[in-house]
């Protein structure tokens, strides 16, 4: 399934939707749209081989958690198409990027725009921290650092079964602080898992601010290589560089693309908030209005009428 839009258009559309959402709600995970829009747009619009969605465009309400009494339970992965052998699979490892991921589903025609209006509403499956029943999600990743390991297991299993489809994991740089991330790479190298791919939003940010001020992680590209992955570092806002990175040979090893990004790319006024960009909430009506005008101009849209 391919979209008519260019990937640049999809990325812009993602940012416009996340911006509108954040204005209306007086805050949100806004900077993640700045840093990650190209990556998610590229995955869904170009790179991933996905079938047509198997779930309705307007998300169903929350249908309960997995349990023996809930035989109809299903995850939200159907928005990425069916689980047949030829298709790729994607995990959004940092589940707080859900808002950006939902906007991507809408921009690529996989979810109706109404889906975003259900975001974080009581009884909705479109959760703030993407749950495995949320659109586009297949596993729970709100506890950061577990996504790559699950991806590795799925990739190993699919390889054993001879499935040609690849497994992709979208990661955040905060995840490299968790030891589990490194255990995952170690296992991939040991077991020669080369049908696993990750693209990481290296925005140098985490909740407390700049990563270097919270826990220095150093040269992660070299670390990933030393642990046994193939690793390419690119400008995460340069689509052609991302495209080239995905072509890197990585026989017997997973491929990890480090997308170096800016947490205020295309929304210059967000720099005022640097280095606290993880969750942006407007501190006054005046600030909200200023951000509205400035970001709307940056994104080429009218300011959001958030009073309604």
């Amino acid at each position: 399934m391919r979209n008519e839009k260019t990937t640049e258009e999809v990325a812009l559309g993602i940012r416009r939707r996340v911006f509108e959402h954040a204005m209306r709600n007086n805050g949100g995970y806004l900077s993640q749209a700045c840093s990650a829009a190209e990556q998610l747009a590229w995955l869904y619009n170009e790179e991933l081989n996905l079938g047509a969605p198997t779930l309705p465009p307007v998300p169903e309400p929350f249908q309960g958690v997995p349990s023996a009494d809930n035989p109809d339970y299903h995850t939200g992965a159907g928005y990425n198409g069916p689980f047949t052998p030829e298709y790729d699979r994607l995990f959004i490892a940092p589940a707080h990027y859900a808002l950006v991921a939902y906007a991507t589903l809408i921009e690529t025609g996989r979810m109706a725009p109404e889906g975003l209006e259900m975001f974080n509403k009581d009884g909705s499956s479109v959760e703030m921290i993407g749950a495995e029943h949320s659109p586009g999600m297949e596993v729970h990743n709100g506890t950061l650092g577990i996504g790559l390991s699950t991806g590795a297991g799925l990739a190993w299993g699919r390889k054993r079964r001879g499935e040609p489809g690849r497994t992709w994991v979208f990661m955040s740089d905060g995840e490299v602080q968790e030891g589990q991330t490194w255990e995952a790479v170690q296992a991939c190298a040991f077991h020669g898992i080369d049908n696993l791919y990750a693209i990481m939003d290296v925005n140098d940010q985490q909740c407390d601010g700049a990563m270097s001020s919270v826990m220095e992680v150093g040269d992660i590209a070299t670390k990933f290589r030393n642990f046994g992955a193939a690793c390419v570092e690119v400008d995460g806002h340069d689509l052609s560089a991302i495209r080239d990175a995905a072509k890197e040979a990585h026989e017997g090893r997973p491929l990890i693309i480090l997308a170096r990004t800016s947490p205020f790319h295309t929304m210059s006024i967000l720099e005022e908030r640097f280095p606290r960009l993880h969750y942006v909430r407007f501190k006054s009506e005046d600030e909200r209005a200023r951000f509205n005008t400035s970001i709307a101009a940056d994104l080429g849209v009218d300011p959001i009428d958030y009073a309604h």
């Binding site: 921290i129 919270v214 993880h278």
Partner: protein
């Protein structure tokens, strides 16, 4: 109208810890979310940033304990025991290190869903030898949690409320005691944490229905004064209802059940809480209604125990407080 206190932990921790070189403040990249950002900025020498790496943080805290420090660890409760459970056991609980584990967002107090809701922590902690468990139910308890925890010779698990917190009590936590909020003789209601406020919402409706409720609030879950609880159970005619922001297995409902069984008490017990299920994301009032943790659930539980309906509906209960999803007292919307 109940008094609301803004960020009581922020003020209390700073007052307690500032200038005491043996107290260290550890954080795993949730510094504003756990209200210790002001402390970090004003007392950088007592603040140790551990990054988002909880397993290391717990064993590191054990090491600090060996060096004679009393670390206060801050993160969301779930991240402090699920992944680093082994570290909690081997580095902290077994050797009885004086580590104070400040777990934020207890139970369904967060819309973050399964990965953010600590719904079985009390059960886990109760089964750990050497662990002390405290839970805060109002601003006064949050304000006194640091002293209470630091009075313990060993590790302490604390369920801490954050943001805008109601003031229900005017005396600090006294470890090992329980609060008697009403002294009726029909039914004993046992609550802890945020469920105490729910039980208080049902108070007048139950009184109007002619029920005499004895209500006990627990801030100390382990160690536990079984004798005192048995005295209260002995003072009521019909039985006991527990209501907890936790699964009904292993929490305060189990604690009461064990106490009754051990003493051979033959009264009815109704345990309310999450019934062997995970929760999902949503606002606190929605989750408390959906999973049966609110005032109305308590009324229905009491009706079940009495085998009688009292015609109490939502309108008869005191109004629930609605927290703003987006409010300046929280670092994010979790």
């Amino acid at each position: 109208m109940v008094e609301m206190v803004s960020r009581p932990y922020a003020t209390a921790f700073e007052k307690f810890a500032a200038g005491n070189p043996d107290i260290l403040c550890l954080s795993a990249d949730l510094t504003s979310s756990c209200e210790i950002d002001g402390f970090r900025d004003r007392y950088p020498d007592q603040f140790v940033s551990m990054g988002m790496a909880e397993q290391n943080m717990l064993s590191f805290a054990g090491g600090l304990g060996l060096a004679g420090f009393r670390p206060f660890i801050h993160t969301f409760g779930v991240f402090m025991y699920r992944r680093p459970y082994d570290q909690l056991m081997a580095s902290i609980a077994y050797p009885r290190r004086k580590v104070r584990l400040m777990g934020f967002l207890p139970g369904v107090t967060t819309p973050g869903g399964m990965t953010h809701q600590s719904i079985e922590d009390i059960s886990v902690m109760r089964s750990i030898p050497n662990m002390t468990i405290l839970e805060t139910g109002d601003a006064t308890e949050v304000e006194s949690i640091c002293e209470a925890a630091d009075s313990i010779d060993g590790p302490v698990w604390c369920r801490v409320l954050r943001g805008s917190v109601p003031r229900l009590f005017d005396t600090p936590i006294k470890v090992g005691e329980m609060r008697v909020l009403s002294e009726g003789d029909d039914i004993l209601v046992v609550t802890a944490g945020i469920t105490t406020e729910e039980a208080m919402r049902a108070r007048s409706a139950l009184a109007n229905a002619g029920l005499s409720i004895r209500h006990i609030h627990l801030h100390t879950i382990k160690p536990f004064d079984h004798r005192q609880l048995l005295d209260h159970i002995g003072s009521v005619k019909h039985g006991v209802v527990t209501l907890e922001n936790h699964v009904t297995e292993g929490g305060i409902g189990s604690l009461v059940a064990e106490t009754m069984a051990d003493a051979g008490v033959g009264k009815r017990l109704v345990r309310l809480g999450l019934k062997d299920t995970y929760a999902h994301g949503g606002s606190r009032p929605y989750l408390m209604r959906y999973y049966g943790l609110d005032a109305l659930a308590l009324v229905r539980g009491i009706e079940g125990l009495m085998g009688q309906e009292f015609g109490i509906s939502e309108n008869d209960l005191d109004a629930a407080r609605i927290d703003d999803v987006h409010s300046l007292v929280k670092a994010e919307a979790l």
